[in-house]
Amino acid sequence: MLPASLDEAVRAMAESPGAVPVAGGTDLMGAVNAGLLRPMALLGLGRVTELRGWQYQDGAALLGAGLTHSRMARPDFAALIPALAEAAATVGPPQVRNVGTLGGNIVSAHPSGDTLPVLAALEATVTLVGADGAREVAVSHLLTGLDPLRSGELLAFVRVPLLHAPQVFLKSGGRTGPARAVASVSLVLDPARRAVRCAVGAVAPVPLRPLEAEQWVAGCIDWDGERTVDPGVAQAFGEYVASACVPDTGSESPVPTTARLRRTVSVLARRALGRALK
């Protein structure tokens, strides 16, 4: 099935609830080819052009779910939502970035999905469109399963508030070439609310928000002045984030060990704060 518009796509989904929508297919088709997934039907979203761009709406950007990573990594998008652009630029090799989409990254909900911590830090919401109309759900609610995707629903748009302030995404994959994140940290400043928001990806099934650490460090920043902090504060913030996001035990695989992971998260959070306040 190859619908040409969002309405058509939603109708098609309603008619054949077993169909699986496919956009870039970088995760889905791999699973299909490996025989892990046998969908009844595939619903190709490639022709739904309205999902492939973005528009402005009430101080927020409404991003189409079909935005590719390479599109998001371009400078015009980076001026809008820098952290999302940085995250998109680190996704896989160029071949994957050229077809992989923002919506796919959210729906796959892989723990190491690179855009997920950014969306969590930005407190983005998604628009889910079904036969009964559209509804707005916070990304974190969707990912944690608090408010899951219902049968016949399509993820159409992602609403991201425009903060007009520094944002950072940092990812450690342990090598120079493209790699899955061992840990990633996204940090955004929200000067209007005098808040720092931070999310840690890849260390848990969903991105984690160290809320106490955020509040503490927001209190350390001189918002009206230079917006800088003492290196000691950055260091402490890193450790605060790491201890909040990486539990003492219970790490599934022995490598990387808990201590190692904590150290990585702490370094990433410290550097992220440093770059955001530069």
């Binding site: 025989g35 940085e86 630029a89 940092l170 990812k171 450690s172 994959g173 342990g174 120079t176 493209p178």
Partner: protein, 825 residues
């Protein structure tokens, strides 16, 4: 890599002077059907003509390469291009997975989900009941063992202990126990999955240390080989003693293409196999034995090989494929998934090495004591040979008067280990080079100085008592890499973008990056060791203006076919040389492993070509009334010693059909003494020196290799560009082992058998690789004086990178691959 266009690129080429070859070389870069490796076309018809593009379109994008070639000469010492290079770059080269035959069935294997388990019962009826399934085979369908019970027709290169299909007991995760042929690949896989097995899981032996005392996993016991090496006086003690324990992980060859093949039944009850093997004759004999038929009724045709760094397919795959075809009477094709490929083919031996180096106050080595433990996996494969290399080269290319080594290779329930570029030599190299760095630190000497004080030269003794009679220009190699200028620091080039560890736009922080420089030297044995009968046969035929070479030496991408062509061009002055596709109807040339083909098969081709040359020159000599020795062939002309008389080669060949077949058998070696490890076990040794420059993010422990500079002892550079490519390949593979490649195993089960879980170096991870020198010190016993070049770079690169990380971080670095926690401060 630049395209050679000036005569200086062909430095060292003896036949590189003069030049009237411009007009005759235009056809070199075209894609020719029946190119080496594409044996498929002839037997299966239509495939090649369908997939290979016409020469005209293939030649269009390579005009500048074409021009570059035209400016060159042919023969030895020239950087000739691979015959199949353009086809491979354009994606039209047929590999084993592209084979097709009318009415073929698809094969699939059922594999063990356990690392160690007993099969209480096996029920194949659900699989047979599925529509479209033609045959389901288990160990019961193979020839029975000596006691009349099915034993899975065990096979192996030295010890026949690995069953084709497991009988009763499975000993590693992914070991096949049943094979299915069906009319669709999915049906075959589903049928294989539907076979009911009642398993009784057994405790998996995964720690090689435990193998000595654990109950035997196999009737042959858990110890593949124990090799003590006693050289000198055990009582000697040095003034400075350093000790270390080193660990090498499980590297996978991860070939670009997974195992694939096609078997076609023959009317005489035999079978014809189209597979990407590197040892066609050895595999043919072993398959015939497993099937219980005569070797002559099995024919192996070597198809396009998608990457091999020594052994490629495991024999179980080929033999079951043959058996399925023989049973069903249909052609059967089998293509393994990447997951199966990771489970079944041999990996590099994981190793545990304990070393103690004694030196005097000046830093001269007095004694080396070592204990080496190799994890051979579930079956013997080549573990005994790998162990001998590791033990005999345990002291490295250094002069050490007293050496004591105890080495063991043991059986475990881990994935199978086998041959892989520099096997054995690599594990030791990482350990002895790490020890030298430790010693340098203890004595407050530079890593270069400690190596210079102990370095080996021609005539020195190996710890096996064998004198190194081949050229050993190790000092020159080390000097060559040490003299090369270092790559600029980012501070020197503020405008250039600095690629940090963690990659572009990554988390790397320039303030946390430390640069380190490390050196390593190493050596590898060439050819089979310990009395292995090395022999190859080749035929050369010349008709009219074309020469053909029939030699069953497989070119798995190593460039041997190109060398074979250059050898014939050099000796006969014929430019158009056709290398016949390889099959087992040709006389044997042995496996393409241990860097032996250039020497053994190359030597056979040289001799055959020289015999043809004699046949060609004799009548001319009679006509000129001089002996044939006074005639030479150069630039496509036969000329007399005084240059007065001459005739073009093409003219002399007119109407002639000359044939010659010759064998090459290098001088024999002897097994190492089982009590003392003494003996002349090696035919020759190759050496390599490297300098690695790394950037380490000391907070995250991420390493980026900035540059690797290599100097290699090549004997004689037959094709300099090809050698550079081999060095680049070896360094990149070595970098993989040093930083990221490790097949993770838990309780004997491979945890992530995919290219996501098993990380290979990408273009961003690969460093700048520079060749500081190819030292051409001819090995008089080798044909053309050329040494094998493929393995040495892969052996030395991990040690050099580890040394550089050590220099950058001050951490000891005792395991490969280097983990972030080892490299963060």
């Amino acid at each position: 890599m630049s395209t050679p266009s000036s005569p200086s690129d062909a430095a060292g080429a003896t036949g590189a002077a003069g030049g009237n070859g411009e007009t005759t070389l235009t056809n070199l870069a075209t894609v020719r059907e029946g190119a080496p490796g594409s044996a498929t076309g002839a037997a299966l018809g239509g495939l090649l003509t369908a997939s290979a593009s016409p020469p005209s379109s293939a030649a269009t994008p390579v005009t500048d390469i074409d021009d570059a070639i035209r400016a060159q000469r042919v023969g030895i010492g020239v950087s000739a291009l691979r015959e199949d290079g353009v086809a491979k770059a354009m994606g039209v080269y047929p590999y084993a997975a592209d084979l097709w035959a009318e009415g073929l069935l698809w094969g699939a294997l059922a594999r063990s989900p356990f690392a160690h388990a007993r099969m209480v019962s096996i029920d194949t009826r659900p699989a047979l009941a599925m529509p479209g399934v033609y045959a389901v085979l288990t160990a019961d369908d193979l020839p029975p063992g000596p006691d009349g019970l099915p034993n899975g027709a065990p096979t192996g290169p030295y010890v026949a202990d690995r069953p084709i299909l497991a009988a009763e007991v499975v000993r590693h995760h992914g070991e096949p126990f049943a094979a299915v042929a069906a009319d669709h690949p999915d049906t075959a896989r589903l049928a294989a999955a539907s076979i009911l097995v009642e398993w009784e899981p057994l405790a998996a032996l995964t720690d090689p240390d435990q193998a000595f005392h654990a109950p035997p996993l196999h009737p042959d016991g858990n110890l593949f080989r124990q090799l003590p090496l006693r050289f000198g006086d055990p009582e000697v003690v040095g003034e400075v003693v350093v000790e270390g324990m080193y660990q090498v992980g499980r590297q996978d060859p991860a070939p670009i293409g997974a195992e694939a093949g096609l078997a076609v039944p023959r009317p005489d009850g035999g079978v014809e196999l189209h597979v990407a093997t590197t040892d066609p004759h050895g595999d043919r004999d072993r398959i015939a034995l497993c099937l219980g038929i005569e070797p002559d009724r099995v024919r192996l045709v070597v198809s396009g090989i998608p990457g091999a760094t020594a052994d490629r397919d495991d024999l179980g795959f080929q033999a079951t494929l043959a058996l399925l075809a023989a049973r069903t009477g249909h052609p059967v094709k089998m293509v393994l998934t990447r997951e199966e490929s990771f489970l079944s083919h041999p990996h590099r031996h994981p190793a545990l090495l304990r070393y103690r180096h004694h030196a005097d106050a000046e830093g001269r080595l007095v004694k080396v004591e070592a204990q080496i433990l190799l994890d051979g996996g579930a079956y013997a494969d080549v573990s005994s040979e790998v162990l001998a290399s590791a033990a005999a080269l345990a002291a490295g290319p250094y002069v050490v008067p007293h050496v004591f080594v105890d080495a063991w290779a043991v059986r475990t329930n881990n994935p199978p280990s086998g041959r892989m570029r520099g096997e054995g030599a690599l594990q030791s190299c990482f350990a002895y080079e790490s020890q030298l760095d430790r010693l340098a630190a203890a004595l407050d000497l530079s890593p270069l100085e400690i190596r210079r004080r102990n370095i080996m030269a021609t005539g020195d003794l190996l710890p096996t008592g064998q004198a190194v009679t081949c050229p050993a220009p190790v000092r020159e190699l080390l000097d060559a890499v040490a003299d090369e200028p270092l790559p600029p620091l980012p501070v020197d080039r503020p405008d250039a973008e600095w690629l940090l560890p963690e990659g572009p736009a990554g988390a790397g922080d320039p303030a946390a990056v430390r640069r380190g420089i490390g050196y390593a030297i190493g050596m590898v044995p060439m050819l089979g060791i310990e009395g292995e009968d090395e022999v190859a046969t080749a035929s050369v035929r010349v008709t009219g203006s074309q020469a053909s070479v029939i030699c069953a030496a497989v070119d798995p991408g190593s460039g041997f076919a190109t060398l074979a062509k250059q050898i014939v061009q050099e000796i006969l002055g014929v430019e158009d040389v056709y290398i016949a596709p390889v099959d087992t109807d040709q006389p044997a040339a042995g496996p393409s492993a241990r860097g032996r083909q250039t020497w053994v098969a190359g030597g056979a081709i040289e001799r055959a070509a020289l015999m043809v040359r004699q046949q060609l020159l004799q009548p001319l000599a009679a006509r000129f009334a001089m002996s044939p020795e006074l005639l030479s062939i150069k630039d496509g002309r036969i000329t007399s010693y005084d240059g007065v008389l001459g005739v073009p080669v093409v003219e002399a060949l007119e109407g002639k059909d000359l044939w010659a077949t010759a064998q090459c058998r290098p001088h024999p070696t002897e097994p190492l003494d089982p009590e003392t490890g003494q003996g002349d076990a090696f035919v020759g040794l190759g050496f390599c020196a490297m300098r690695a420059v790394v950037d380490v993010d000391i907070d995250l422990g991420t390493v980026r290799v900035v540059e690797v500079t290599a100097a290699q002892d090549v004997g004689r550079a037959l094709n300099p560009r090809q050698i550079e490519a081999r060095i680049e390949a070896g360094v990149t593979q070595g970098l993989g082992l040093a930083l990221m490649e490790d097949l993770a195993v838990g309780e004997g089960r491979v945890l992530a058998p995919s290219l996501v879980g098993y990380r290979l170096p990408t273009a961003l991870d690969a460093p700048d690789i520079r060749v500081a020198a190819m030292i051409e010190d001819r090995d008089v016993v080798a044909p053309f004086g050329a040494k094998a070049v493929g393995a040495a770079p892969a052996v030395v690169a991990p040690a050099a990178i580890a040394a550089a990380v050590r220099a950058a971080t001050g951490m000891p670095i005792t395991r490969l691959p280097i983990q972030p926690e080892d490299a963060s401060v």
